[in-house]
């Protein structure tokens, strides 16, 4: 029965079906399957398949977003139990992400957020028009590995530079890696402001994030 349950979990993620994924997560808890096992044997293999489908060109952004949504629905149920029991699952890392203050564009940020989730990151998504100190507060609170900053305007991209200055001022620059992205930004801009990484597209941002945390796929 259990192997069937695990493959159903994987399938729910591959199909991008959040209701089924959440239902299966609850079934796991009811049937006393350890949440870590449900994630490791069920849902995470599902998201890995999604990654493969993306790489092979079979899946596009709408499928990716739907699968990330299913993954999120399942982890929302499993993670609290997991954390209450004191055990942890080998995640990819924790990311705080948002579009910097003054900028309400969030489509690019949402894509990166979904893809990071799909790749096993714990993502704290602060939304758009986020005040710079809020990024730092959220990063400290969640013990994040990475802060991802989006900006779509030439005027608001300056906020990316200010966040890095703010981290330096507070003596926190060494604690978090910073990855920037958005239409007006570039690798050169990232270097100029002293960011650790630059994501030209959502998939590139994920590759960069994995590389920054030393978890690059070969």
């Amino acid at each position: 029965m259990t192997p069937d349950l695990f493959s159903a979990m994987a399938k729910a993620v591959v199909d991008g079906d959040p209701e089924t994924a959440a239902g299966l997560a609850r079934t796991a808890l009811e049937t006393r399957i350890p949440p870590a096992e449900a994630l490791e044997k069920g849902f995470i293999p599902g998201i890995q398949t999604v990654g493969e489908l993306w790489e092979s060109g079979d899946y596009f952004l709408p499928e990716l977003i739907a699968s990330a949504g299913a993954m999120k629905a399942a982890t929302a149920i499993l993670r609290p139990v997991l954390e209450a029991s004191g055990s942890s699952v080998a995640g990819t890392g924790t990311v705080v992400i948002g579009t910097v203050e003054g900028d309400i564009h969030d489509i690019g940020k949402n894509l990166v957020s979904a893809m990071l989730t799909a790749n096993g990151f714990k993502v704290v998504d602060l939304g758009a028009d986020v005040k710079l100190p809020d990024f730092i507060e959220a990063a400290e609170k969640s013990s994040a590995d990475l802060i991802c900053l989006s900006a779509l305007l030439t005027t608001t991209m300056l906020g990316q530079r200010r966040l890095i200055e703010l981290l330096t001022d507070r003596g926190l620059r060494g604690r978090f890696k910073v990855l920037v992205g958005g239409a007006p930004t570039s690798r050169k801009w990232a270097q100029e402001i002293g960011a650790d990484g630059y994501g030209e597209s959502a998939p590139a941002a994920v590759r960069e994030a994995l590389a920054l945390l030393g978890k690059a796929k070969s």
Partner: protein, 490 residues
């Protein structure tokens, strides 16, 4: 004589136009549009519309929308800096201008993008001024050597100094409107003179789906008061910020643009407003917004048709490309776009010179695209019966000696009927090889140098230049900026 026929592109059937408009009116009334700007909401409320300060949502009755459409002008006459030359924006008139607000420039020496500086913007204004098929100029780049706080007014300052053509521009900040209006009215000699002879169009973009930000609503309000034409730039991305279907995106496009239009007409009935946009087919692999996609161009031509049906002047971002360099993709995307836009009779077509998703300008591409625009103009000028009879009389003396190269008829008509290329290659192979086997981009680079060397900028008279300088320096000081970059000396 039989009149010539202007070729025309109509993508939407009358029945589909009706359905799109009906659904748009329904969405305006039932769902409404969010206006983040409290003054905008208050203006709608005073006009008898339901405006909720909590959700920021404003619902618009069909009655109000009809009333606003009735007062919005069908035609806007723009004037150049001298106030003597006018350009009709309306009907099926076609005017091209360089794509606007790029953040990078393609360096022909290195074939890589780099950050633009003031002197690049000066070159663009000067080049636009001499390219005959670009009727308007645009504030095409955001220069990196000027603080972002005053970039909007500073770009307009440069445009007004270095080209006499009307300007397509826009604000980056609420406080940018004042100095920008002052620059424009300084040229005209007063606010009322500017209202009588508009010199610039201000772009204002809603944030899809169904939202007008504080800044862009304020631009609509300020422009309507000053009589400066607003260009409504709805920009849904199919399947991301607007419905995935083209017809569905058109519904949203009409809703967003009409909400903006209503705001301008409430502020001042008769305020000039252009039904424009920058929507795109969203690439589901890269998450990018290809302007050269055929679906993007289909959306553009179709909403222009809807704008015409609503009796409004129209605009689109077409005749541009997503290529990163002046390669075959740059040419075909720009060429297809220019031709389709001209056939659709779009009044203001922003794009020439642009690469890389509306983000990079190339001076060489501006020259190439000017030639593409010439071809588009040639196409829409149509096939005209120049003489009656057309040709029968030319064959009366027909014999083995007949040679049209020698005939007076040829000398009379060939220049009128046929365009001669400037940078397109028509050499025989050997001649092309003998000249170094160069590409169109190489030839265009020569032409850029040649045009800039031979044509001194049309600087305004000293008093006006000094007044423009005074206005921009005051804006800089107000923003805590002490020095402005040196301008090239001519």
């Amino acid at each position: 004589m039989i009149p010539g026929r202007r070729p025309k592109l109509d993508l939407l059937s009358p029945a589909l136009i009706d359905q799109i408009l009906e659904e748009a009116f329904l969405v305006l009334e039932r769902t409404g549009v969010s206006f983040e700007n409290p003054e905008a909401r208050e203006l709608f409320r005073q006009a008898g519309q339901a405006a909720d300060d909590g959700t920021q949502r404003v619902r618009l009755t069909p009655r109000l929308v009809e009333r606003c459409l009735a007062t919005a002008p069908a035609v806007i006459d723009l004037f150049d800096r001298s106030g003597e030359k006018s350009f009709r924006v309306g009907g099926d008139e076609v005017h091209f201008d360089p794509g606007s607000s790029g953040t990078r420039i393609l360096d022909h020496q290195t074939l890589r993008e780099r950050k633009p500086v003031t002197s690049d913007l000066v070159s663009i204004a000067r080049l636009t001024d001499v390219l005959a098929h670009l009727h308007f100029q645009s504030t095409a780049l955001v220069p990196s050597d000027i603080p972002g706080e005053i970039a909007d007014a500073y770009r307009l300052f440069l445009a007004l100094l270095f080209s006499s053509k009307p300007v397509v521009t826009g604000t980056f900040r609420v406080a940018g409107f004042g100095p920008m209006r002052d620059l424009l009215s300084a040229v005209r000699g007063g606010v009322e003179a500017l209202r009588a002879k508009p010199l610039a169009i201000f772009d204002a973009c809603p944030s899809p789906p169904l939202r007008w930000s504080r800044l862009t609503s304020q631009s609509l309000i300020d422009c309507a008061r000053a009589g400066i034409p607003s260009e409504l730039i709805s920009m849904g991305m199919t399947g991301a910020t607007s419905p995935a279907t083209i017809s569905g995106t058109l519904v949203q496009h009409v809703v967003e643009n009409l909400a903006g239009l209503c705001l301008t007409q409430i502020v001042r009935p008769g305020a000039p407003v252009i039904f424009g946009g920058s929507p795109s087919s969203f690439d589901m692999r890269q998450g990018t917004t290809p302007m050269g996609a055929m679906e993007t161009m289909m959306i553009d031509c179709a909403y222009a048709q809807l704008g015409k049906r609503l009796g409004l002047p129209t605009h689109a971002y077409m005749a541009l490309s997503d290529a990163k360099t002046n390669d075959a993709q740059a040419g075909f995307e720009t060429g297809i776009g220019a031709v389709l836009a001209a056939l659709a009779g779009i009044n203001v077509i922003s794009g020439p010179g642009m690469l890389d998703y509306e983000s990079t300008i190339s001076l060489e591409k501006m020259v190439i695209d000017d030639e593409i625009c010439a071809l588009a103009y040639r196409l829409i000028s149509g096939i005209v019966p120049r003489e009656d009879p057309l040709a029968a009389h030319l064959f009366e003396e027909f014999g083995p000696e007949t040679d049209f190269l020698k005939s007076a008829h040829t000398r009379k008509w060939y220049r009128i009927e046929h365009l001669l290329p400037g940078v397109a290659d028509r050499d025989p192979y050997d001649a092309w090889e003998a000249k170094g086997g160069r590409t169109i981009a190489d030839r265009a680079a020569d032409r850029v140098k040649d045009l800039l060397a031979k044509n001194p900028p049309p600087l305004p008279d000293f008093a006006l230049a000094a007044e423009l300088r005074r206005i921009i320096e005051a804006d800089a000081r107000a923003n805590g900026i002490s020095g402005l970059p040196d301008l090239p000396v001519f």
